[in-house]
């Protein structure tokens, strides 16, 4: 894993966390794929989203994919 790739992934995650409010109206209830601080694609179904990403030439395992819910997630693990 190159330093650049990991830095970009950190930047994507930071961007997602900071953009949550702006993204919610459009993507609520959807899985969102993010690359280079942009939304690549989204879907209510994670399997469908990963399939489409592969077709587009992206590697889902190396792409930030997060679920956007209006209500914050509550969990006790």
């Amino acid at each position: 894993m190159s330093e650049t790739a990991l830095t970009e992934f950190n930047q994507d995650f930071q961007w997602f966390l900071g953009s949550r409010k702006e993204l919610l109206p459009k993507y609520e209830g959807r899985w969102v794929a993010i690359h280079s601080r942009k939304v690549l694609d989204s879907d209510k179904n994670l399997t469908e989203l990963t399939k489409r990403l592969k077709i587009k030439g992206f590697k889902p395992e190396q792409t930030l994919i997060q679920f956007l819910s209006k209500e914050p997630i509550e969990a006790i693990l």
């Binding site: 894993m1 966390l17 792409t63």
Partner: protein, 141 residues
Amino acid sequence: MRIPGYINYGYRPPAPFAAASILLHPLNIKARLPLLLDTGASNTIILWGDLERLSADVSRMKPERKFSGLGGLIEAKPIPSIISFRTAEGGIVEEKVEVYIATGTCPHPRLKLLPSILGRDIINRYTLSYSPSDGKVYLKR
């Protein structure tokens, strides 16, 4: 050396995360994923949502360990792995660890929303500094 973390306000209460890359040797998978910093978890584990994203075929994996949680038992298999983090100083730090993979099918669709977890097997190698009120979280050593 410091590993910066991030506070995720998509959780209630907000939760501390770190961005990492993981090389799962036997599966030949290189993945990038956010990990929940969970001092309540004994081990680092990749859960169902991320496993789907990683296209990891866990159907033929034999579980070797059962973890207790509030939701019951989770069967998991340890995978020799290297976890990498970006440091605040500009560089990468690598940690060798056996990452656990949840081997059973996801018990409920909502559980796919659960993040993968960075457990005490890694956290205990560092000092965890966490101040949600200041919006700061990092691992240091």
